[in-house]
């Protein structure tokens, strides 16, 4: 079974090809091909997971490109990390695709949607299976393409194309760093293969400078993909895509690819602690800043988007302090509970036809399953015992605490309070109180095809954390092969703080929004600048628009003008100069050269004209001339002697 692991991404590719090539003939049958394909992939992944858990591993490769002294091999490998991620990705993808049966029903581009989802799944699976950086980059870019295509699904709506472009371009800036890293690493080692590179790095065969460049470049790519500070701007806009897409791509899988990349490359980072520091700080800052924005956003999907950014920051923070297991653990649990939250939000949006939480309310009784599922996801996100987030977030905070960087630790704790607060706020605004709009009043529970995946995911949101818990003997840690042991005292201390933080945030939000003990508007009026700062997400968008977008367009317009006017003007001027020179030469030719020839003839003629007047026909004159001639000759002879 394990030797067939390479087939896992092949099924979705086939689905994509079949749906894509049949075009309009497919009509609305795309899902009938895509879902079985991803189901098969999921079953394969499960089988692979089981075999990897039994200690087997898989690696296959072939020569992709070579010339003398140069060889690039491509291959697939399955290690515990990949095996775990394969299951997560195929499972979430499967559930999302089933959910989409209901959510996307009647969409005019239903089959295209499923084709894109299939391609995405295939690319994401390839990304996980890749045994080298180049193949990973290729898959990495392809998931970016799918993200672009899926964000742009409603491409006729205003603002949607811009959002798609923004996502692609922002991540592309990061990918540039990724590519630089690959160039540096290949020129230093002559291979893209993970294992070979890690082996070389650990023996010190790669210079520190190169490693810094490589790790920094990789992190740039990861930060772009995972929407880390300062690349976070694209993810909230990416919510323009269909909600299931947000769940799958912009919460559970693709955005986590950045974290996966760092986790994969952790052996490199461990050699260059200074870059590790950067990763940790960027993660911490992102976690805190994004969580703060989550407090004030009213769009339910945007709350979840900022939450995603914040949680990805947590993972980066964990990896940045060198903790492989907590980062990956949180990556896994987050994939489940964030997909759940998004799908729950999607169910709400599907029912209420708005994304603005101010127009919701009172949905608890109208949509019981959705409410239950969303609640489970929220508790997991807030990190409440015994939900999944509790264990994974806990382990990250513990790792940060153990690393001794108390600033980062407290940033994480504050972010945890904010997280608990904003998600409770979202839950209360959406599901409690009275409906605040007609849509909310008439909302009905979604069809089972949507609620069943929600309930399945709820189970994972509750239980996924247990895999990494102490009471289960940390099955996941053992599976991943990384022992993660911290002193019990630290664990207890951190657990207490984290629980207090989570409950504190929840209680605060409940008092504010459920019991309405005090009005949040008091705060926003007291500190309008702060409120605006958060509302505008620290003005990043405005800044980027002014500086990069507008600036680049201005420069481009200038270059276009410059090219047209100056460079081409110069060419044309040279051309004109040549033409005028030719005309001038032509004139000179007529005047001077030809003029000389003609002029000579003319003057001879004119001279003849003069002379011939002498020949006046009077014989006496001729005779006189003769006389004069004789006289002059005589005189001349006389004088000359």
């Amino acid at each position: 079974m394990l030797s067939l692991a390479w087939l896992i991404p092949v099924f979705p590719v086939l689905a994509w090809l079949i749906i894509g090539l049949s075009g309009r003939k497919m009509q609305n049958r795309g899902s009938g091909i895509a879902i079985p394909a991803v189901l098969i992939s999921f079953l394969f992944s499960l089988a692979v997971l089981v075999q990897v858990a039994q200690g087997q591993s898989y690696h296959t490769s072939f020569t992709w490109l070579e010339w003398p002294g140069f060889q690039i091999t491509f291959g697939f490998q399955v290690d515990p990390l990949a095996a775990m991620m394969l299951v997560v990705v195929t499972l979430v993808s499967l559930l999302v695709q089933i959910y989409s049966l209901g959510y996307m029903q009647g969409d005019s581009h239903y089959s295209r949607y499923y084709a894109n989802l299939s391609l995405f799944t295939a690319a994401m699976l390839t990304l996980l299976l890749a045994d080298n950086y180049l193949l990973l980059l290729i898959a990495w870019e392809l998931v970016g393409l799918c993200s672009y295509l899926l964000i742009g699904h409603y491409f006729r709506n205003p603002g949607v194309p811009q959002a798609a472009n923004k996502a692609f371009l922002t991540t592309r800036v990061g990918d540039f760093g990724f590519m630089i890293a690959l160039m540096a690493i290949f020129n230093a080692t002559g291979t893209f293969n993970f294992q070979e590179i890690f082996a070389l790095a650990q023996t010190g065969a790669i210079s520190q400078g190169t490693l810094v460049l490589v790790t920094a470049g990789l992190f740039l790519g990861a930060a772009g993909k995972s929407a880390q500070f300062p690349f976070q701007v694209w993810l909230p806009d990416a919510m323009a895509g269909p909600t299931p897409v947000s769940a799958l791509i912009h919460a559970a899988t693709m955005v986590a690819a950045g974290v996966y990349l760092i986790a994969r490359s952790l052996p490199l980072y461990l050699v260059v602690p200074q870059v590790m520091q950067v990763v940790a700080w960027v993660g911490g800052i992102t976690a805190l800043l994004a969580a703060a924005v989550g407090l004030v956003v009213n769009d339910i999907k945007k709350v979840l988007a900022y939450s995603t950014i914040s949680q990805l920051g947590y993972m980066m923070l964990g990896l940045g302090v060198g903790a492989f297991f907590p980062g990956v653990f949180h990556l896994m649990t987050h994939a489940f509970f964030k997909a759940l939250l998004f799908l729950g939000a999607g169910s709400v949006i599907h029912a209420v036809h708005t994304q603005d939480m101010r127009e919701m309310g009172g949905l608890g009784r109208r949509m019981p399953y959705t409410t239950l599922a969303f609640l489970a996801g929220s508790l997991a996100l807030a990190g409440v015992f015994p939900f999944a987030g509790f264990y994974s977030k806990d382990s990250i905070l513990a790792a940060v605490y153990a690393s001794g960087n108390s600033v980062l630790f407290w940033m994480g704790v504050v972010a945890a309070i904010l997280t608990a607060f904003y998600i409770t706020r979202a839950v209360v605004l959406t599901f409690w109180h009275q409906p605040r709009s007609q849509g909310a009043e008439q909302a009905q529970e979604s069809s089972p095809v949507m609620t069943v995946p929600l309930l399945i995911l709820s189970g994972f949101a509750l239980a996924a954390g247990w895999l990494g818990a102490d009471f289960s003997g940390n099955i996941l840690g053992g599976f991943l092969g990384t022992e993660f042991h911290l002193p019990r005292a630290i664990h207890h201390y951190v657990t207490r703080i984290a629980t207090v933080a989570a409950l504190g945030g929840i209680v605060l939000a409940i008092f504010t929004y459920l019991f309405r003990w005090f009005q949040p508007s008091v705060l926003t009026q007291r500190f309008p600048q702060c409120y605006q700062l958060l509302q505008q997400a620290y003005y990043f968008d405005r800044f980027y628009n002014r500086v990069f977008v507008t600036g680049t367009i201005r420069v481009a317009e200038f270059v276009a003008w410059f090219d047209q006017t100056v460079i081409d003007g110069l060419v044309n001027a040279v051309g004109r100069l040549g033409k005028n020179l030719a005309l001038l030469i032509a004139k000179i030719d007529i005047l001077l050269i030809d003029g000389f020839v003609v002029g000579f003839g003319h003057s001879v003629g004119r001279a003849g004209d003069r002379v011939r007047r002498w020949q006046n026909g009077l014989t006496a004159n001729y005779l006189l001339s003769l006389v004069w001639a004789v006289l002059i000759s005589i005189l001349t002879f006389k004088l000359l002697g």
Partner: protein
């Protein structure tokens, strides 16, 4: 014997008359006569020098000149006759068809 200068003076006078006549006359025949005068003035010169030097060269040349002069007169007159027949004019100033 008459001094040479006298003879030369005569010849010069004769030549001058001929020259003036040739220059000033408009009648073609008269012009031809005047030319004959000039020719013969030269002949006189030739003969005179020949006599005074005691050599026959000059006289021989004079004889030639007379012969040529006769021939010339004949040709000249013939031309004039032809011209006169054509244009009924003998005025030398009016005979200018060959000019530019």
């Amino acid at each position: 014997m008459i001094p040479l200068s006298w003879v030369l003076a005569l010849a010069g006078l004769l030549f001058g008359i001929g020259l003036l006549g040739a220059l000033l006359s408009t009648n073609a025949v008269r012009m031809l006569i005047c030319i004959e005068l000039m020719l013969n003035a030269v002949n006189i010169n030739l003969v005179a020098f020949s006599r005074y030097q005691g050599q026959a060269h000059g006289e021989i040349v004079a004889l030639f000149a007379m012969a040529i002069g006769a021939a010339e007169a004949a040709v000249g007159l013939a031309i004039f006759v032809a011209v006169a027949r054509n244009s009924k004019v003998i005025d030398i100033d009016k005979i200018n068809l060959l000019k530019w």
